[in-house]
Amino acid sequence: MSDVLRLSSRIYAQLLNFYPEDLRCGHGAEMALVFDEDLAAAQRDHGMRGVLRVWRWTAGEFLRLALPGWICSPAVRVPVMSIALSAGMMLAMLPGILPNGPGQPPNAHAILYGLRFALMLPLFSTPFLCALSFLAGRGACLISLRDGMDAGGRHEDLSKRRFL
């Protein structure tokens, strides 16, 4: 197996993380196998041009089938909404960090500062949420790919199993 095929195979295995969970768990191992075979045949018949053609198709499929579902999944929606909420709140609090104007009560600055801190909390928690959701998705894929084969390399019917 050439370096190009090995690298492509690894990248595709990572891209599988973004496909819907039921597809990944039911057919993830087969998809990886079919991709490897198609890529090897394309390289054998058309060289690098064939490899690029397979990748062009794969990228198209990824944008059409994986990305919309991934963006709408709770694992992505929650952190993104959290960031958006934090950013929105910080913008709203921006006047609070400015010095009190002549018409403002003396403790308004402190109240706004405290409120800003409370609302910034999701911003700090977001990286942890992102990392957690990514690891959860990756774990599910690894389980599906690993369990796709039993000890003898025999494929198990994963469509009858559910993970997570």
Binding site: H27, L33, G153, H155
Partner: protein
């Protein structure tokens, strides 16, 4: 007026077409679809298995054990009775369209407008 069934999506049509020629694994379906369409239609792995999953759920195709000496990583698929009927309906729909199109072409130009 005659009504037509909803046409099959190209991926579903070519999977059913490929399986009508015999039981196949995923890569076999991909190759057969390419051959049947004379390289005009390519099924990528994600399109292939998204459609296979849908066809399995609707009972149009089914998983069958492969030949004795097959690669254990592969899963084989078979065209079920319902799938064969749907494929037949689609072929009839296409034939009817071709007949209509030929009839239209054979008419003199002035009578078409």
């Amino acid at each position: 007026m005659k009504t037509y069934d909803q046409p099959l999506q190209p991926a579903a049509f070519f999977i059913l077409f490929a399986l009508a020629t015999g039981d196949k694994h995923g890569y076999g379906i991909m190759q057969e679809a390419r051959k049947l369409s004379e390289n005009r239609f390519t099924l990528g792995p994600a399109t292939l298995y998204t459609t296979v999953q849908r066809l399995l759920r609707s009972g149009w195709i089914e998983e069958v054990p492969g030949p004795a000496d097959h690669d254990p990583r592969r899963r084989y698929y078979h065209l079920a009775k319902q799938g064969r009927a749907a494929f037949q309906r689609e072929m009839e729909r296409m034939e009817a369209l071709v007949r209509k199109s030929k009839a239209l072409r054979s008419r003199p130009a002035e009578s078409r407008s």
